[in-house]
Structures are given as structure tokens and as C-alpha cells.
Symmetry: C2
Subunit: 221 residues, 2 copies
Amino acid sequence: MLNYSTSEENYIKAIYHLQQQDGNVTTNELAAELKAKPASITDMMKKLKAKKLLHYEPYQGFSLSNEGKKVALGIIRRHRLWEFFLAEKLKFTWDEVHEVAEHLEHVSSKKLIDKLDEFLGFPRVDPHGDPIPDQDGKIETSRQVCLLDLPFNKSAVVSHVSDQSTEILELLKHKNIVIGTKLEVKKKFSFDNSMEVKAGRQPVFTISEQLAKNIFVKYGA
Amino acid sequence: MLNYSTSEENYIKAIYHLQQQDGNVTTNELAAELKAKPASITDMMKKLKAKKLLHYEPYQGFSLSNEGKKVALGIIRRHRLWEFFLAEKLKFTWDEVHEVAEHLEHVSSKKLIDKLDEFLGFPRVDPHGDPIPDQDGKIETSRQVCLLDLPFNKSAVVSHVSDQSTEILELLKHKNIVIGTKLEVKKKFSFDNSMEVKAGRQPVFTISEQLAKNIFVKYGA
DNA sequence: ATAATAATTTAGATTTGTCTAAAAATATTT
DNA sequence: AAATATTTTTAGACAAATCTAAATTATTAT
């Protein structure tokens, strides 16, 4: 595996995330994601195409090649392992880990990352509930659904929170919800799309539409 | 404290190390240290002077300003804390830590480093025996002497090894010498400048001039 | 289907960090 | 102290990553 510049890595990572949803990624989408100008995107796409990391024809959008995906998963592995380290060992709060991990992820010593993985006890998910790819780039493809779409009375486990703001952290803390919390939806109100939820033996409580939108859960087959 | 580029940080660090011995640093010296061309050094010296990190007049060499020294000590703090982490927690060997720390040292989150320091138990020295500056940039100025200059029968503690090659590590391992080992010089032979040394209750053994040159010790007032 | 609009690319400029080759300053030797 | 050698600086070039403004292609609406 060759080495890529910090900038190249940031582009690759951003494309990976965008194509999870869209499949094909456009210049403007990526420009928005990276807070860069469209012209800069085109420049970099040419370079990454030359390195065979993505498929790209002018005006047709782009998507990562298999090699590009492998590179992306390597970066994501580093990012999420550092996030886990920061939260678990250095006691960073949930909303602080991301920014620091953005920098640490670009230190690309394989030995460092594999030893870190071992030191941390081979964690499966990062503090936001996102799965951590293994040495070979294998990543757990989870049957996640948004809490909004969870059927009634199906016990499910909170596995991911998409927003990472301090505000949502504060609210989740107040409601005692963390990654791993077991939930069941008891009622939904169509007026405001709020829902009543039960967590373990706690009394039923209410979750707003805005909050439910950001909570993702996994539930058994 | 402002942020500096990786390149600027590497220059600052190199000047700090060189001026420990010479006081004033020359263009060629620094070029050799950084494996760069003299012209590149001059370019960067102009930039660092403009940022008030060093004293520099054309053709007269240069040395860090107080601000420059503070920046240098921040970088050295990060480097040595990561070295300690790699050796202590990730079980890297002595000769492996340096290269990886060269990269990690440029991640400049103050919170990260202070929390890392705490997590590691506020270590005073890195795996090579070099002192780690504290949050305020204070660094232990140790009364170190080269083992060659240690008087007879003075009990002293190995505090630093200047060479960092695999070869010296192998030899030191064989002789059971680590940072912290207590030594006493028993005899010196002027023929080859070798010496006989006693470590704790081990039988006396021999150290060559080449090896003694690279071992530094601290001894009581 | 054509005109208007939006998205994308190209062309050319800028900054950072590096280099080579030539010029200038300093140091050394005779 | 003059000649020679060494060190350092300057001048100009280049690659990476970004930008602005203009040109081009694609999409949408009439």
C-alpha cells in the first residue's frame, strides 16, 4: 500500500462517506463536504484517477475504485481506533474525539495502528457506534435502521448517532442514552412525530422527531 | 501559542538540538542535520526570523529566540511523550519509537498532549533517558556526564544513550544496561580506553571506549 | 427545441517548501 | 595581503494544493 498525502487522504475519505449513500459522487457535493471550491475538486479528481484510486469521466461524477476503497478503509480504521483511544484511555468526551482524530489518522504506520488495535483490545466500534475495519479492511456491515423506522416493541440497541454536536450529547446524557442502550418504541404521535420509548427498566420517556432522526439502532434478524 | 507547519517545526527542533552544543548554528550544519540544501535553510531562516522565532543576520548563523525555544520545547514534549507511550503501552522497542514519534509530534492539540501526559502518569524521561518538558516548557537540566568522564567508585545512574541504533540496543541488552541502571567505574585502561564497570551485584564487566562514549550518567551532588 | 440556469472544467495565479546554479561574502593559506 | 577555497545567499524554477474568473457542458423550464 502506497502512501498518500494528507490532502489526498481527506478527499478519499470524503468520497467514501458520500458514496455510501449516493453511489456516485458529484463535484459540488464533494466541494460542499470538504469546504473547497469545485475547481479544486476537479484538480484532485484528475490526480486520484491517474493513481487509479477512482473512476472518473469529466462531467460524469466519480466513485472509488476497489483500490480506492481499500485506502479509504485504512484511513477510517486509523480514525476510529484513535477515537476509541481518546475516549477510552484519555477520557475525551464524545464530541471532542473527532477533531483530534482527524489529525492522528494521517500518521500511517501500519505497525503503530496494529499495535494500538491490540492495546485497545480489538474494539469493534468507535465511540459513535461506527464499526472499525480490521487489518484487512473488513468492516461489519450492520443492519442499522433509523430509530424513526424501528417497529413497535422490537428491542434494539443504539448503535450510532449521526450528529456529533455538544448539544445532542447533552440531550442524550440527560436521557441516559449511550451507544449500546437497549430501546423499544412504545408509541408514535403523528402530530409531531415524537415517540415514547422504553429503555431497560426505566420509565417510558419521550424522544422528539429531531432526536430520533439522529439515532440509529441495530436489531436482531 | 500559534501553530506552525510540520516543516517549520522540524527546522525549529533541529536548531534547538544543534544549539545545545554550539550555541550558534550555521547554515551548513543545519543543512546536514536536516538533509536539505543550504539554500533551503536560508529560505526558512528568513521566514522564521520574520515570525520572531530566531535571531539571524545574513552570514552570521542563527539561534532560537526565547519564543523559538518555547516552541521547540513544546515539540520536544510531544515527541518524548509519544515515545514513552509507544514503548510503555504499545511495546515498541527502543529503536522503533523515534521514527513514529517524528510524525505524531506534529499533532499539536494541547489538550491531547496534556491528557496523554496524565494517562502516562507524568513520566519524567523518555525511553532514551531524555527529560520530558512539562506543560510550561520547563525541562530538567540534568548534571549529566559521559561515562568516560565518570570518576572511579562514584555510583551513578545511566540517564541517556546518545546513539539510537539497533546495534547499540543489542549490545546494551546483552550487558543488561538500561536507563536507570546503577554503575560504578572500577578500572580504566589507557591502552584502548576500555573500562571495567560494576552494576549492582553483578560481576564486574568491560565496556569499550566506543560504547562508553555513548552512555551518559547522572550522579549525586 | 431552444433559451436560461446550473454544474463542471480549464486557464492562469498564489503560497509553501524545495531545488540548482550563479553570485557574493567570509575564511584560509601561502 | 592576495589568492584560493569555503560558506552562504540570491535568483529563478518546480511541484503540490489551492483559489478566481472565464469557458464549456449538462440540465431544466418555457
